[in-house]
Subunit: 271 residues, 2 copies
């Protein structure tokens, strides 16, 4: 079964450039080390039409995991939950478990339950609310076809807390059991255009590895490259051995091409 | 004519969460003040299939402006230019103007022209290269149907330099001539769920304004809201008057609801 994932960030504030989408990068990293391959990140407006279109497309393609962020708050333009229900062709009603969570949050701080607050407990039918230890809006978990769907708040601290508290456990059951190692080579004096065919050769030799160079200075005057070697495998010992071999051999070849190796390192990314 | 725009960020390094997509936020802001409404930001892998699919979808929908970032470099996985040619059903050949730019960059620094470097000058037929004052890969500008298409490097300094040097001029000709004003209200002591119906009311009263509250503390204990009022208009005086009115009246109503106004301000975003 394919372990691919989509992330959909919802919010006009992202599309007018007020906010940088740090949530997406955080989620991509988390999903990678849980064994999922993120195939697409989309940012769309707080618009029912767009949310319905994207959710349906994702479910129709059989994507394994869909994570929506943003639009779960009490304001008029927070329409993710209702639009999700519409996309799935389900009713949108107060979830009793979510209602208890929301009431407890407000009552413990001396606030009354208003319509704007009850809204936080409304979810598509057959959803499970995910406790929000930081804010008031619970997350939403539901399944449609092959797709596990999570809707999380857009505020990073709330999104991260719900993900770490609940989502990670659920995804841990269905993700591929893959160990990830990352090797880092910092090399001076080799322009990217010289490194490119060398990296190309190692990518072909090690089909499962992902190697990428990131230029740190002007490409043709004083080049510094930060080269990342990402190796995944079901056996951690084999993955470590492969990553070490690539880092060692690739470094050697960069030296032969006039490079000075500033540093190399290898680290485990998960488990 | 609709002045909508899509931004497509290309790169596996974004999808594994190594890099935060700051380019997208920077471009969204620039496009807004040039009079375009960004409807979608997508991040996709360095994959011909995905690039072709997304470019064709965008052109078929008649989106006015498509900006691609990433994948213009010399490495084997930099396939944006070739994939763009395929999406548009055009040949992919050395562009003589681009070739001169690339040769000049390398020769002036004593580097030879290799196949990996010539690749930087290959573009879809009927493209115009955009000078890159920071790096070696020129940007690409071409038109297909109703869509102005720009392909820019993924490295922020290069992307920004090409955009500011060339893209802004081209878009200035086709964008809507709209002035943007942003009002900012920082208010303490009003939870977002109290502010929501008030903001809702002002959004309905001022159909063209976009008002959004960003909670800065826990919603129900010690709330601080950063409220942004975005007003656009073809007449700058009218837009300023409307923005001032909303900020003044909205602040007043927040005070009536127990709020303390820490600060208000209004600024022009363009022209």
């Amino acid at each position: 079964m394919s372990c691919n994932a989509w992330i959909v960030s919802i919010g006009n504030e992202l599309l007018i450039g007020r906010i940088v989408n740090t949530n997406a990068a955080w989620l991509c990293r988390k999903l990678l080390i849980l064994g999922f391959s993120v195939k697409r990140v989309l940012t769309i407006p707080d618009s029912e039409e767009d949310i319905v279109e994207v959710v349906r497309e994702c479910v129709n393609r059989g994507v394994r995991v869909l994570i929506l962020t943003g639009g779960l708050g009490p304001t008029y333009d927070d329409i993710t939950s209702e639009s999700l229900a519409k996309a799935l062709g389900r009713g949108w009603e107060v979830n009793s478990e979510a209602y208890s969570m929301v009431v407890e949050k407000y009552r413990s701080r001396g606030f009354e339950i208003t319509n704007y607050r009850v809204k936080l407990a409304k979810m598509p039918l057959n959803s499970k609310p995910l406790p929000n230890p930081v804010g008031t809006a619970p997350g939403i978990f539901t399944i449609e076809g092959n797709t596990y769907i999570f809707a999380l708040p857009g505020i990073p601290s709330e999104m991260e807390a719900i993900f770490s508290g609940e989502v990670e456990k659920i995804l841990g059951e269905i993700g591929s059991k893959t160990y990830f190692l990352e090797g880092i080579i910092i090399v001076e004096g080799v322009p990217e255009s010289i490194a490119a065919p060398i990296i190309d050769k190692y990518m072909k030799k090690h089909g499962e590895a992902y190697i990428k160079s990131h230029p740190k200075g002007f490409e043709s005057s004083k080049p510094v490259l930060d080269i990342r070697v990402l190796v995944g495998g079901v056996n951690v010992g084999n993955a470590e051995a492969e990553c070490s071999e690539i880092v060692r051999e690739l470094s050697g070849e960069l030296v032969q091409n006039g490079g000075f190796i500033r540093s190399t390192s290898i680290q485990r990314l998960n488990h």
